[in-house]
């Protein structure tokens, strides 16, 4: 890999606008996510976090904006091309393949990085069998990585809530993403599960995968992220390290309302 490519941000989005009728959901939003970071995107309800997320993962098309992924121009068009380009996502309300086993769920994640055809499958060619073995081995490895290998043969819907979240992350990692985009992974989790999730995410970061984290839970974001962007009413109101953002009066106002002037440490 050339020096230029390794220095390039994993994802750069600039000037992103998206309007739904009379509502400016995103106004000139931009982020630069560097390799190996956990990048937090936070904001109150309706701030435009999920809209931005859906724009970069190809679910919504932006009215304007430019994107670069790993130094190359990138236009999030059809969702299935997004995974191929290198962004894997999870969903705010878990979307697994419920009747398939945990292992099969992760194996589906390998789809985009493998290429056996229908004919190859029918004839069970040597390359198809080798690929199939590799898919299975990699999927088991990932289940192990997120700590749910013992449930490999369980149908996804029978897993506990926290394990379903982990399975979704394993499935996303199976696509070999440049950027792992997580939409409120801590939603609905209890304190123990949140702690375990936090450990898993820092583990993923230390293994070199860049993470975009959209989160409601300020504590989780502040403790985990390297950089944070705060959105409110579709606009960026603050950007920086968690410590910087936390002290920003605009952020405090957005979260707690202008009338209150609480001590900044209440957010930490």
């Amino acid at each position: 890999m050339s020096a230029a490519a390794s220095d390039a941000p994993v994802l750069r989005a600039a000037g992103v606008n998206k309007r739904f009728g009379g509502l400016q959901a995103l106004a000139d939003v931009g982020v630069t996510i560097r390799r190996g970071q956990i990048y937090g995107l936070i904001g109150p309800n309706g701030a435009g976090k999920t809209t931005f997320f859906n724009v970069i993962t190809g679910l919504y098309s932006p009215d304007s904006g430019s994107f670069e992924l790993g130094g190359k121009p990138y236009s999030p068009s059809e969702p299935h091309k997004v995974a191929e380009a290198g962004i894997a996502r999870t969903f705010q309300n878990i979307r697994l393949f419920p009747e398939m086993t945990a292992l099969e769920n992760v194996m589906v994640g390998r789809h985009v990085r493998t290429k056996a055809t229908a004919l190859g499958a029918v004839l069970r060619t040597r390359s198809q069998r080798a690929e199939e073995r590799a898919i299975r081995a990699r999927a088991l490895e990932l289940l192990d990585y997120v700590g749910i290998r013992r449930y490999a043969d369980f149908q996804a819907r029978t897993l506990a809530y926290g394990d379903q979240r982990r399975l979704e992350i394993a499935r996303a990692l199976a696509t070999d993403p440049k950027l792992l985009a997580l939409d409120e992974p801590a939603a609905g989790m209890n304190a123990t599960e949140k702690l375990a999730l936090r450990e898993l995410l820092s583990h993923i970061r230390s293994d070199g995968t860049t993470i975009l984290l959209i989160e409601h839970d300020v504590k989780l974001v502040m403790g985990l992220c390297d950089r944070v962007t705060v959105l409110d009413y579709g606009k960026i109101i603050a950007e920086g390290t968690p410590a910087e953002v936390q002290r920003d009066p605009a952020v405090i106002t957005a979260y707690l309302g202008g009338a209150h002037a609480p001590a900044p440490q209440t957010l930490s």
Partner: protein, 379 residues
């Protein structure tokens, strides 16, 4: 051999033994049933055809989750394909063709089967392309319409050019002829005589086994997983990089292929095709086989197809004699009773076994009781 008996994966000897037992029963079946006349063997041959049809439909409905109510159209396409290419119909209606082929059309089954498969697959894509964005009920309505359109075309394409001979259908279709052995006559092997219907039974059995192998292999492949993923959640499937459009089209095309092949076999077996064999009722019956047997589960679908195709035959041969014995006359026609019992069977099965007679096995347990589940159950 464990391909057929996944539950015996760790016992190869048992899997081989089970395969041999099943094979022996299937090979001996016509001789046992045949003692009561050829009608029974004919019913077995049709059961094999229906297994093929049901497995083809299972790819579309069971694997990919696309409700198709017009599946019989592909069966019709295959049947008419063979009828037109292996009967005097075209040459007697088009003098130009007769001049080109003075012996008439008598194409080899080896040419017609792949052609029937390919044309049916083409029709599968033709149906699939416009309905890609439809789901559930809406998809069912459009596919139902497609099935009827094909049937109505076949019914009316006798003017201005007589392509299908309309409601009269096409007759004098060549029987299957493999390596000089005509399936229309009894084959004398010396130690055993195989009547025509036995030969068809064995041919259909062979094709059914091939269909089963293909279906199992597709199911356990990258494509099979992609089908199941779009069935379960197509938004998540897209996010995983699956090209939902192509994968759906492949499901329609491959499902249609099996319909087309069984259609060619049907035409050769009957020697006659007419549009009324391809009514909506037939689509519904094939769908019922898939759903009652166990949607998406290959052994269940086979069971459903065998039961629902043999059941009416059984009725036909019991209802009338029983009534004559009891009342001295026929009170309820076998056909009427058949539909009544069909309906009753469906209601009962859907009440007591909503996932079918032999559904896919459940894996895993309720999270609340999972502490006691055996760990490390990895494949």
């Amino acid at each position: 051999m464990s391909l057929f008996f996944p539950s015996l994966r760790n016992k190869p000897a048992a899997a081989i033994a089970a395969t041999f037992v099943v094979a022996a029963v299937l090979i001996a079946a016509p001789f046992i049933v045949g003692t009561m006349g050829n009608a029974g063997v004919r019913a077995l041959a049709f059961a094999a055809l229906y297994v093929m049809l049901a497995l083809g439909l299972n790819i579309v409905v069971g694997f990919a989750g696309l409700l198709d109510l017009g599946y019989i159209a592909f069966y019709a396409v295959g049947a008419y394909m063979y009828a037109l290419l292996a009967s005097p119909h075209l040459t007697s209606n088009f003098p130009a063709l007769a001049a080109m082929f003075p012996q008439g059309f008598h194409n080899s089954i080896w040419m017609v089967i792949p052609l029937g498969a390919a044309v049916a697959a083409f029709f599968g894509v033709v149906l699939g392309a416009p309905v890609l964005k439809l789901r559930g009920d809406y998809l069912a309505i459009v596919t139902l319409g497609f099935g009827e359109i094909i049937r109505i075309f076949l019914n009316n394409l006798n003017a201005p050019l007589n392509l299908t001979n309309g409601p009269q259908g096409i007759t004098l279709i060549d029987p299957v002829n493999i390596a000089g052995v005509s399936f229309a006559r009894t084959l004398d092997l010396g130690f055993v005589k195989l009547p025509s219907v036995y030969l068809y039974y064995y041919l259909f059995l062979l094709l059914t086994v091939i269909t089963i192998v293909v279906c199992i292999r597709l199911q356990d492949s990258r494509l099979g997983r992609a089908w199941m993923a779009i069935r379960e959640d197509d938004i998540a499937a897209k996010a995983m990089g699956i090209n939902v459009r192509n994968v759906k089209l492949l499901a329609f095309a491959l499902g249609a292929t099996f319909g087309g092949v069984s259609g060619t076999m049907f035409a050769a077996f009957q020697g006659f095709v007419s549009p009324e064999s391809f009514s909506l009722m037939e689509s519904v019956i094939v769908l019922a086989m898939v759903v009652l047997g166990g949607l998406g589960h290959i052994p269940g679908v086979i069971l459903g197809a065998v039961l629902l195709s043999l059941f009416p035959e059984l009725l036909r041969h019991t209802v009338v004699p029983v009534q004559e014995q009891l009342f001295g006359r026929i009170i309820i026609d076998a056909e009427v009773l058949r539909m009544m019992l069909y309906g009753l069977a469906m209601v009962v099965i859907m009440l007591y076994r909503p996932k079918g007679l032999w559904p896919a096995p459940e894996h895993g347990v309720n999270p609340s009781t999972r502490g006691s589940a055996k760990a490390g159950a990895t494949g």
